[in-house]
């Protein structure tokens, strides 16, 4: 399938991205990705209590529960049986070349389902000189503008395949957990 415009890829991907709130608080909203049937992926720092609600793109609010949470890797797996959302396609970020187009979907600053586009830089350890490198975690690193509310949302290639889960911004650089790390974690659920 050939994608002609970013809007097409973004439109498809947005159908698989929900808003998620943790516990009773309606603030601190993040994004969650329909990864497999009934299973959503988000950032661990977005879901701080076991009970969550997701708001689907078609406007339903559905309860769910956190089934796995890795604070170190900043990924959480959430079971939402009633969400009925199409699941994403994923791709290994290691197949991308520096300069390839990527885009993020999320809710930065409360703007629902916002798309921001940019380019892929690298997947792997962070460059020396940037702090946060002590843990030697692998990150997808991209030149994409993210904001609070992008956390847990997808970073995708030009075809809309998810290569990472947006986690944070470091020195302006977008950092996402590689999709391959998420799949490893899902294998244990």
């Amino acid at each position: 399938m050939t994608t002609t415009f970013l809007s097409e890829a973004a439109e498809r991907l947005r159908l698989s991205v929900a808003r998620i709130v943790s516990g009773e608080r309606a603030n601190g909203m993040g994004a969650a990705i329909a990864w497999r049937s009934g299973l959503f992926v988000t950032s661990a720092h977005v879901v701080t209590s076991p009970r969550v609600h997701v708001m689907t793109p078609d406007g339903r609010t559905v309860p769910g529960e956190v089934v796995a949470r890795d604070v170190h890797r900043d990924v959480a797996i959430v079971r939402v049986p009633g969400a009925r959302m199409p699941v994403v396609q994923t791709a290994d970020p290691a197949t991308l070349r520096p300069g390839s187009l990527v885009f993020a979907v999320g809710h930065p600053f409360g703007v629902v389902d916002a798309v921001s586009a940019g380019v892929f830089q690298a997947v792997g350890w962070l460059p020396s000189g940037l702090e946060l490198n002590k843990e030697r975690l692998r990150w997808v690193q991209a030149d994409v503008r993210l904001g609070p509310g992008n956390s847990g949302g997808p970073l995708a290639d030009s075809e809309g395949r998810v290569i990472g889960v947006s986690a944070m911004i470091l020195a302006g650089l977008a950092l996402a957990v590689p999709s391959t790390d998420v799949d490893e974690m899902l294998a244990g659920v």
């Binding site: 520096p98 300069g99 187009l101 000189g129 030149d143 030009s158 075809e159 302006g172």
Partner: protein, 305 residues
């Protein structure tokens, strides 16, 4: 349905990054974060002056991951450029583009190399282009070239690259603000030539202080001047080029190389070019008459920072 797809554009950008990325190195001349350098000519790497924090023991990381020793050939604070020598044949030479062909809206990339992995890429569009300007560090830049892209840590000294992989200049972190500022190919070429010739950029020196003045319209018409203003000489450095040429306090410079001159920046621009040791032809108003004065331009005395 056209064949142009988003994936095609994505691949073109990645190709451009790969091609230009083959000619850039990581420069290790400061603590912690390296900066980037462009292999401008065989054995010659250009980076930004602001990222050179030590002049000895500089190394570069090549695209193949190997390390090579580099020596500082020269640096110019005014244009924020520095030139390093590395062993010849270490990597391909950058393919240079013509910055005059860039227009606002063109897609561009900024590239960096931060270690032994692939090139780092930042993406945006050309925001503004324009004529020659003088940057706050004092250097004369041949054209304005600003882009809407992020100069991340370590991207200083890296190239601005078009969608076909051509290099249009060197990105300066120090000169960048809301927009990324690129020192264009013409200026890099000029500074590289001068730094390789003598290790520093010589700036022209007149040896006179002056300020702008206005004439009455009648006086301007009577003298047949192209404008109604000039630069009045307030002091003259004894033994300097202006003194040697016979300029006097009170002379009003109104012409430079047969063009009207009434703006100090116009004169500074002329002196920042390749003029040391050459004659500039001035027209000055002295005692109510227009007098020609040829000045052999000297080299501005250098004060070490």
């Amino acid at each position: 349905m056209t064949e142009t797809s988003l994936a095609t554009l994505s691949n073109q950008l990645a190709d451009a990054a790969a091609e230009a990325g083959a000619a850039i190195v990581a420069v290790h001349a400061r603590p912690r974060m390296p900066s980037t350098g462009v292999h401008w000519q065989d054995g010659i790497v250009v980076t930004t002056d602001g990222t050179i924090r030590r002049e000895e023991g500089i190394t570069v990381t090549l695209p193949n991951g190997n390390s090579a020793k580099a020596t500082l050939a020269g640096r110019d604070r005014g244009t924020d450029l520095a030139v390093l020598r590395i062993p010849a044949g270490s990597l391909p030479v950058a393919g240079l583009g013509d910055p005059a062909s860039l227009r606002p809206g063109h897609l561009v990339l900024a590239l960096a190399r931060l270690g032994d992995d692939g090139p780092r890429v930042s993406f945006g569009t050309v925001s503004a282009v324009g004529g020659a300007w003088r940057c706050w560090k004092g250097g004369e830049i041949a054209r304005r070239l600003q882009s809407n892209l992020t100069v991340y840590p370590g991207f200083g000294g890296g190239p601005l690259v078009d969608a076909t992989g051509r290099v249009h200049g060197i990105n300066s972190g120090g000169l960048s603000g809301a927009f990324a500022t690129t020192i264009p190919v013409e200026t890099v070429d000029r500074v590289v030539r001068q730094l390789l010739d003598r290790g520093y950029v010589a700036r022209g020196w007149l040896g006179a202080a002056m300020q702008p003045v206005r004439f009455s319209e009648a006086a301007a018409t009577q003298l047949g001047m192209g404008s109604d203003g000039g630069l009045i000489i307030l002091s003259i450095e004894p033994g300097g080029p202006a003194a040697t040429a016979g300029m006097l306090i009170g002379d009003v410079i109104v012409m430079l190389d047969r063009q009207p001159l009434d703006d100090i920046n116009q004169l500074l621009r002329a002196l920042s070019g390749d003029v040391v040791g050459k004659s500039l032809h001035f027209g000055v108003v002295r005692g109510g008459a227009l007098v020609p004065v040829d000045v052999l331009i000297g080299e501005r005395p250098r004060t070490r920072p």
